[in-house]
Symmetry: C2
Subunit: 111 residues, 2 copies
DNA sequence: ATACCACATCTCGCCTAGCTAGGTAAGTAA
DNA sequence: TTACTTACCTAGCTAGGCGAGATGTGGTAT
């Protein structure tokens, strides 16, 4: 996750939506959870995360709601929508297809 | 390979370099070979391919050489350099790490 | 009070890189 | 001539990650 800037493009949405299928979360939480699940690999920057969330909300894939926090600033919790779930399923299939195609070229074991 | 525009970012170089480890090839040939190996998945556009090759050459990862063609316009054959091989190895490791991290989040089977 | 840190969100501007849509040009075939 | 395949090139558009900075709350330490 140092130089994967370009690799990450196209997967950000899927990663965020995947986490939100289980429960609504707020931005900061998503970053921490993403880091935990990927065993430290993903460490999203604010400049990546928030614009992405705004994009997803604008496109109707997630819905945000402000909630007070007991420990700091108000949080904006995002929940995935039905459209978001459909979108995610398509993306997962796309990711599978893509990574298989890459593997076929990079590791031509079946040659 | 319709909407994978963003997914492709970060993998283009690896795909091209991987093909060139076996033999020198020219642009048009790389496109066809990539399509064949990925079983039709990758169909690089000229606007993706040529700028990528020029980038790789400028960075010293590949070296180009004009050769006459028996059937059409002259071809520019590219060979991978030692720097290119080293770079590719690093990229392959990066790709493996990245795709595993994505899988861990998208398919949390070991949860 | 002042300083500092963790939490929490936002945005401007930069940069990379894929693609559209055009162009050039050689050879072959109808 | 027209048209298709091979073969290369590029300007301009666009998407999206990220650095850096701003804003604000609340707790703890000095």
């Amino acid at each position: 996750m140092e130089n994967d800037r370009e690799l990450l493009k196209g997967s950000t949405d899927s990663l965020l939506l995947a986490l939100l299928t289980e429960q609504a979360m707020y931005g900061y939480q998503l970053v921490k959870e993403l880091e935990r699940r990927s065993q430290g690999y993903f460490q999203f920057r604010e400049g990546t995360l928030y614009p992405a969330l705004h994009r997803l909300e604008k496109d109707g894939l997630i819905a945000g709601k402000w909630q007070p926090s007991p420990v700091g600033k108000d949080r904006r919790y995002y929940a995935i929508t039905d459209t978001g779930r459909t979108f995610l399923h398509a993306r997962l299939a796309q990711w599978t297809g893509f990574s298989k195609a890459v593997s076929r070229v990079l590791v031509p074991s079946g040659a």
